[in-house]
């Protein structure tokens, strides 16, 4: 069972998903070498923009073999990783500079399974 703050963070990520019709966007913040939210839910079979906002002073390198992406996010800066279109599944990513704390997953679900799809 997820804790309340954790569920809130996941819910917040959905809000940004509605952003631009052409390309959904999800925001992940980096604070104290932790991703927030740690789980990002995106629709299947769509290209999605993952925007990482790094509030730490030091850079972080997002790395994911599952997503086939590698990207450095400079300190106090933001960067975008484009993923998809992906089939449903779980795709892990981590921060190369802080692999023990900076870990996260992208969960790809069918659009009708998104929590705000009614």
């Amino acid at each position: 069972m997820l804790s309340v703050p954790y569920r809130t963070l996941i819910a917040l990520s959905f809000i940004s998903l509605q952003a631009k019709a052409a390309m959904p966007e999800a925001i992940v913040e980096i604070k104290n070498h932790l991703f927030s939210p740690q789980e990002v839910i995106i629709p299947a079979n769509k290209k999605v923009r993952l925007v990482f906002i790094n509030h730490d002073a030091t850079p972080e390198e997002i790395d994911s073999f599952d997503l086939n992406r590698e990207k450095v996010i400079f300190g106090n800066s933001k960067g975008t990783i484009y993923v998809g279109p992906l089939p449903p599944g779980t795709y892990r990513f981590f921060g190369e500079y802080h692999p023990n704390t900076a870990v996260g997953v992208v969960r790809v679900v069918r659009p009708e399974a998104l929590p705000d799809a009614d």
Binding site: K47, P59, N68, R69, V72, P87
Partner: protein, 234 residues
């Protein structure tokens, strides 16, 4: 994809075979169009080509350093074994790789490559400009390199040459990613299996390896190239 790949192969092979004859093509590596900021690396490459004329062994040692978020500069020392079986320096090379598009943003990812090479003992030069592309198909990736090479100097004829390299890779696990590689240049067409992998250590340190066995299909009774490389990023 079913039509695109064979069509691409046919067009490139015909275009390249229609050019002038080859003089010094060597199977090397297929470049990916990606650059990372802070990228620093040492690399060692070996190619051993065995054909009817004997064995040509080549090794390259290089150091690379990212100049910006999208550009990396790499310096090479090239060594080769001569006809007396002595191994020595053959030349030096500067290479710039430029990541043109953000990975995944467009239909395919694009990069550019520029190289300048000088022979050690003669005043012979070679300049190369290339376009690098990569396209994902699920867990597969298709990487292509289109190169235009100009040679000039005291012992080589001034001429343009074209080269095409392609890799179709399956991203199985980080350590082992099997692929098929295809090379075409003036008078040379080769294809064969290849493998690459990556092993991560603490922080940004990682070791990449590549191994390929390319069979020449251009008419020689025997023409095989073994290529391998180790790249340490830190």
């Amino acid at each position: 994809m079913k039509v695109f790949l064979p069509a691409l192969l046919v067009v490139v092979t015909v275009l390249i075979s229609a050019s002038v004859k080859a003089d010094n093509f060597n199977v090397d590596k297929v470049y990916h169009p990606y650059v990372l900021p802070f990228e620093r690396e040492f690399e060692w490459r070996l190619t051993s080509r065995q054909n009817d004329d004997g064995n040509v062994l080549m090794q390259r040692f290089s150091y690379g350093h990212a100049l910006s978020e999208r550009v990396v500069l790499e310096g090479y020392i090239v060594g080769s074994r001569d006809e007396y079986d002595d191994f020595g320096m053959e030349g030096y090379e500067l290479e710039i790789r430029w990541m043109l598009t953000e990975q995944g943003k467009y239909w395919a990812d694009w990069g550019a490559l520029f190289e300048l090479e000088k022979q050690h003992t003669t005043d012979d030069w070679e300049a190369t400009a290339g376009i690098l592309t990569e396209k994902e198909f699920g867990r597969f990736s298709l990487t292509t390199n289109f190169m235009l090479v100009y040679e000039w100097g005291e012992t080589v004829e001034n001429e343009f040459e074209g080269e095409f390299r392609m890799k179709y890779r399956y991203r199985w696990i980080p350590e082992v990613q099997p692929a098929v590689e295809f090379y075409a240049a003036e008078g040379y067409v080769g294809v064969g299996p290849a493998f690459m992998g990556i092993r991560r250590f603490d922080g940004q340190r990682q070791l990449k390896w590549e191994l390929g066995f390319i069979a020449g299909l251009n008419g020689d009774s025997k023409d095989h190239t073994l290529r391998m490389s180790l790249e340490y990023e830190f």
